[in-house]
């Protein structure tokens, strides 16, 4: 085969591969939109975004689940971010070289724990423990937030660590050279300079928390109403889809697709937000 035709072939193969990926993504969006269309047409947006889920009465409101998704994700971030950030700071600033590798491996392994395992631990240990402490059923937003925190910590730690390491050493040198302490340098120079990367880390963590299904499903409820406290059952968008998918038809089934579409749009919005806050590839305005 001549080299020119080989070049041509390689280009074609890569082009086809790229098209398949793009087409696949487009089809996901297309099918989600198409399948949720009956729900929007027959039930209407007002019904879909109401707070009442009662298919028998023709009520397909997803507000409870949307709120469940947002609160559990927010709770997970609230608990996970400070820990993850502290860990990233420890790894980049404090840990001696040798233990740095050890802790990094530990974080990576934490990222590799299957979500069903975390869900199982949550179901068998965390929920009973919360039940004993609070006197309520135990499952709910608190339990889900704790599980989600464990799940987002590796993501946030790894990306914040990269962001902190990407801050030019000259910044810290300048700060130390005017007599700042390590802590002052970390707090006033390093963290602000790494902020875009850290924000991106938190948003990616949020993405993971919003999309997580199995582990949350095992500790969240179930109940299709607003919870009365952090320790009473409710649902998220993902867990609701999971519970209903087997036995729904018609508009009810279509409304599940609508929930999926909302999740999809939420995820897309987060990705755009990441690009916005981090300005594409991390930039720190370094003078070269």
């Amino acid at each position: 085969m001549s080299s020119i035709s080989r070049e041509w072939l390689i280009k074609r193969i890569l082009l086809v591969a790229a098209m398949v990926v793009v087409l696949g993504l487009a089809m996901v969006v297309y099918f989600m939109a198409k399948e949720s269309l009956p729900a929007f047409r027959e039930a209407g947006p007002a019904n879909l975004f109401s707070a009442t889920w009662s298919p028998r009465d023709g009520r397909y409101g997803m507000l409870v689940f949307l709120v469940g998704t947002l609160t559990t994700a927010a709770g997970g971030l609230l608990l996970g971010t400070p820990l993850a950030l502290s860990l990233a700071l420890f790894l980049t600033q404090v840990a001696p070289r040798r233990s740095r590798a050890l802790f990094s491996r530990g974080v990576e392994i934490l990222a590799g724990i299957p979500s069903i395992v975390l869900g199982w631990l949550g179901f068998t240990m965390l929920v009973p423990w919360i039940r004993k402490l609070s006197g309520s059923s135990g499952s709910g937003i608190l339990a889900a937030s704790i599980i989600l925190a464990v799940m987002v910590i590796p993501t946030i730690t790894a990306i914040s660590k990269d962001a902190l390491e990407a801050v030019p050493a000259s910044y810290a040198q300048a700060s130390l050279a005017v007599g700042a302490t390590r802590w002052q340098t970390t707090w006033r120079v390093l963290l602000p300079a790494a902020r875009p990367g850290i924000l991106a880390a938190v948003i990616l963590g949020l993405g993971r928390a919003v999309g997580e299904t199995m582990a949350v499903a095992m500790v969240i409820g179930p109940a299709s109403v607003f919870p009365t406290s952090l320790t009473t059952p409710t649902h998220t968008l993902t867990t609701k889809i999971l519970m209903e998918m087997g036995e729904s038809t018609g508009v009810q089934r279509s409304s599940l697709f609508a929930m999926g579409l909302v999740l999809l749009l939420l995820a897309m919005a987060l990705v755009l937000l990441v690009r916005r806050v981090s300005g594409g590839p991390f930039k720190y305005g370094v003078v070269e």
Binding site: Q93, S175, A177, G179, T185
Partner: protein, 298 residues
């Protein structure tokens, strides 16, 4: 490697008994410069006695003994890799940040051993400011860059800070150019302006000594000229030590010149000759100095 890992190198000072008395009585030291290293008619800001520096197993400097005169500009010249920058970093203990770094000998600032165990490094760095090879302003506004040091030292009052920022920028000959841009990002300034901003940032904490590590190597000739003019003004009030690759610059700006040289690869850098700049450049005592300044090597 994240250079800023705060795993400090073990920089330990040793205080030989013979010179200990010197460190203990700083007031007598000013005039007691009767040793051969002292420059006649000049008070010494820094006194170095037999200073050696190693990074791990690699010797970087050896046997450096010299006095750095107060309120004068001392230039440090020499070929690449002769330890000029490492020498400079001995004076504000920035070498502490290099893992495996060890210093032996005595470095006295106003008669005080700055490597003594109980010596406060942050206070030292406040007194001995440093300007780096590349302008390295923080990714903050012009104002916040200059106010950084004072804020670190606990000044919160708005008016006081405004005053310090203005005064420091004026001293750094930058005020006229940036007085309407104080709230703009420092990184939007030109390279030369950024370097003067870094000088202003150092001046804002009222240092006594300013160390400059090839401050003009990333600048064009006009920006370089402005920095050199600025140094000439600053020496009225500050002791200045400048490392430079550029011998014309050393000849133009400095009062005293130290010539460092590394004999061969793997050897530590040594101080070959130190004296007033005119003598070093016109009638050097050491043939190696002459070879270097006439451009025969390096």
């Amino acid at each position: 490697m994240s250079v800023i890992s705060f795993v400090s190198g073990k920089v330990r000072g040793r205080r030989p008994g013979s010179v200990g008395a010197e460190g203990a009585a700083p007031s007598q030291n000013k005039r007691a410069g009767a040793e051969s290293e002292a420059i006649p008619g000049e008070g010494a800001k820094f006194r170095l006695r037999d200073v050696s520096l190693r990074y791990g197993n690699r010797p970087v400097l050896e046997g450096i003994t010299m006095d750095i005169p107060e309120r004068r500009i001392t230039a440090v010249i020499g070929p690449s890799g002769c330890g000029k920058s490492s020498f400079l970093r001995c004076l504000n203990r920035m070498n502490d940040l290099v893992e495996g770094c060890r210093l032996e000998g005595l470095v006295l600032l106003d008669g005080e051993d700055i490597y003594a165990r109980e010596y406060d490094v942050t206070a030292l760095r406040r007194r001995v400011g440093m300007v780096f090879q590349r302008p390295n302003p923080f990714p903050k506004t012009v104002y916040e860059n200059v106010a950084f040091g004072p804020r670190i030292f606990g000044i919160k009052d708005r008016e006081t800070l405004d005053g310090i920022v203005e005064l420091s920028l004026k001293r750094a000959a930058l005020w006229e150019e940036v007085k309407d841009k104080l709230r703009e990002p420092a990184l939007a300034l030109s390279g030369g302006q950024q370097q003067r901003l870094c000088i202003a940032r150092v001046l804002a904490v009222e240092p006594e000594v300013i160390l400059l590590d090839e401050p003009c190597s990333a600048l064009d000739p006009i920006a370089t000229q402005r920095i050199e003019d600025l140094l000439a003004e600053l020496k009225e009030n500050y002791t200045i030590v400048i490392v430079t690759h550029n011998m014309q610059q050393a000849a133009r700006v400095s009062d005293y010149t130290a010539f460092f040289l590394i004999e061969s690869q793997g050897e530590p850098g040594r101080l070959v000759e130190f004296g007033d700049t005119a003598t070093i450049f016109t009638a050097p005592a050491d043939p190696r100095t002459e070879r270097y300044i006439t451009g025969r090597f390096g």
